[in-house]
């Protein structure tokens, strides 16, 4: 029996190893030689697709520079940078987490706001609970999922409750926007509160229900080059690309608003 389990584990390890080996040869195909400069960008998870596009453009315009991303929750990224993670640029999903970083004096120059995002209701494609307004979320029997107040999207949801005077009774307070979207697109929940850009990125897996009060709560995204960067000039150029025309058009196409 024991050998069988061992066999199972070995098989699993081999699968994992094979997968990672594949990934390595893929990225190596781009010609990763030692002469390239690698710029490491820590960015909020909600920026994943847009920043990858901006990164590709940046690499085209800067031969010899390779941009690597680490996407995650903004507060996770801040604590990683505080613990000495080698990052050159930090882009946060809210100003609160950027404040944490500047309070620790890890920035080079002042953070710049480069985008903003508002909340939107997401429902399964067939909108089973007939949600048409923010107030509909409080109807009895409607299963609403929001982010927990501890994370930026949840803090925005709490503000939205006080702006509208509607008190939500969520069936779950998730750790991230992706978790909320997962519960909605699988049809477990009748509605969820996420960002406009998340609804756009989810395509036809969810239906977006815009509501007029949404512009009262705006989440601002700041970006900054980091003090401990070994390539501070390139880091600053990346920040300029994001705040400049290239970055702004890509962000706008994904549904982000101007800061």
């Amino acid at each position: 029996m024991r050998t069988r389990i061992l066999g199972l584990l070995v098989a699993a390890l081999m699968v994992a190893g094979g997968a990672s080996a594949c990934g390595r040869s893929d990225s190596g195909g781009g010609g990763g030689s030692g002469s390239k400069t690698t710029l490491t960008v820590f960015a909020a998870a909600s920026l994943t697709s847009t920043f990858q596009k901006i990164g590709d453009k940046f690499e085209d315009e800067h031969p010899g520079v390779k941009v690597e991303f680490s996407f995650g929750g903004s507060s996770d990224l801040v604590s990683q940078i505080q613990q000495g993670a080698p990052a050159d640029v930090f882009a946060s999903a809210d100003t609160a987490n950027m404040d944490k970083l500047t309070a620790a004096n890890l920035q080079a120059g002042d953070p710049k706001n480069f985008a903003s995002n508002t909340l939107e209701i997401a429902t399964p494609p067939d909108n089973p609970a007939d949600i048409a307004s923010f107030a509909d979320l409080a109807k009895p029997g409607v299963k609403v999922v929001v982010c927990a107040p501890e994370v930026p999207c949840g803090a925005a949801a709490v503000k939205m409750e006080s702006v509208t005077g509607v008190t939500l009774k969520p069936v779950s307070e998730e750790e991230s926007v992706t978790d909320v979207l997962g519960k909605v697109s699988s049809g477990e929940a009748d509605a969820g509160l996420v960002y406009v850009t998340d609804v756009a990125a989810a395509g036809d897996k969810v239906k977006g229900v815009p509501f007029p009060e949404s512009n009262k709560v705006v989440n601002t995204y700041p970006i900054v080059a980091l003090k401990d960067s070994k390539h501070s000039d390139i880091a600053q150029e990346f920040v300029d690309t994001v705040t400049g025309e290239t970055g702004q058009s890509i962000l706008a196409a994904a549904g982000f608003a101007k800061p």
Partner: protein, 261 residues
């Protein structure tokens, strides 16, 4: 054990100590990080207490389910031989190597509102998603293989001599199971139950994917730690230490159970 007198090669202590240090150092780091002056208030907040109670309650129920279903499963796997047994065993043990998030998704596609059984359950008025039942299902799913593995091992090592003797003396299968088989594998059953409890206590991925996260209902201790880390790392570390202490106590119990064999 009779090999007490055989010496170990000396070099073996080097990797052994390195390995132990690798496991112990992170624990030391956690203890060093704890804000002891506020430790009491950090772990007694309402949210922390709710999470702690929910974790103990659900882990206990999940362990019970693991006993109820795991013992018969282990018996069939250890005592019967039929075509496809090896495949079935591998599949049953799959949650051991499956990322818990994948387990959570699988449960969602099974018991969720639009899942395989979900519409039937829904029609019967049973809703599982976002309830404590979902937490228990997630924990049982990931913990069951631990029970099956340790009990199947105990059953195989124990052999069937006494069972055969009892049966030849006219005992019925149920009597043999109750009077001979079960008492002989009690140590294996205990360590299996302890492992299942510990695994349930630490369950995170399947729970967050399948059950959601709401204070007092589905937000277990690991989920609370993950959430607290966002705003209050001190509380997260304090709670993490609580979880470590409970886990150490549980594993200590398991060691005792094994020692009395």
């Amino acid at each position: 054990m009779s090999d007490r007198t055989v010496g170990l090669p000396r070099w073996i202590y080097v990797p052994a100590v390195l390995g132990a240090a690798f496991v112990l150092l992170p624990l030391v780091a956690i203890v060093a990080k704890v804000d002891w002056t506020h430790f009491g208030s950090l772990i007694t907040s309402q949210a922390s207490r709710d999470a702690f109670v929910l974790s103990l309650k659900t882990s206990a129920i999940s362990t019970g389910l693991c006993v109820v279903f795991g013992v018969p499963m282990a018996l069939v796997l250890a005592r019967r031989d039929f075509p496809g047994l090896a495949v079935i065993r591998s599949l049953v043990l799959l949650p051991l190597v499956l990322p818990p998030v994948v387990g959570g998704l699988a449960l969602l596609y099974t018991f969720g509102r639009r899942g395989l059984l979900g519409s039937t359950l829904d029609a019967a008025g049973i809703q599982i998603a976002f309830t404590t039942i979902a937490v228990v299902l997630a924990q049982t799913f990931v913990a069951l293989p631990f029970m099956v593995v340790s009990l199947e091992g105990a059953l195989r090592t124990g052999g069937q001599r006494y069972e055969v003797a009892a049966a030849s003396l006219g005992a019925r299968p149920t009597t043999v199971f109750r009077r001979i088989t079960l008492p002989l594998v009690v140590p294996g059953l205990i360590s299996g139950a302890v492992l299942a409890f510990a695994r349930s206590l630490g369950e995170f991925g399947a729970t967050i994917t399948f059950a959601g996260s709401l204070q007092g209902r589905t937000r277990t201790l690991p989920l609370e730690i993950y959430l607290q880390r966002e705003t209050d790392p001190d509380a997260a570390v304090a709670l993490a230490l609580v979880l470590v202490v409970v886990a150490v106590l549980v594993i200590g119990l398991a060691g005792q159970g094994r020692g009395t064999r």
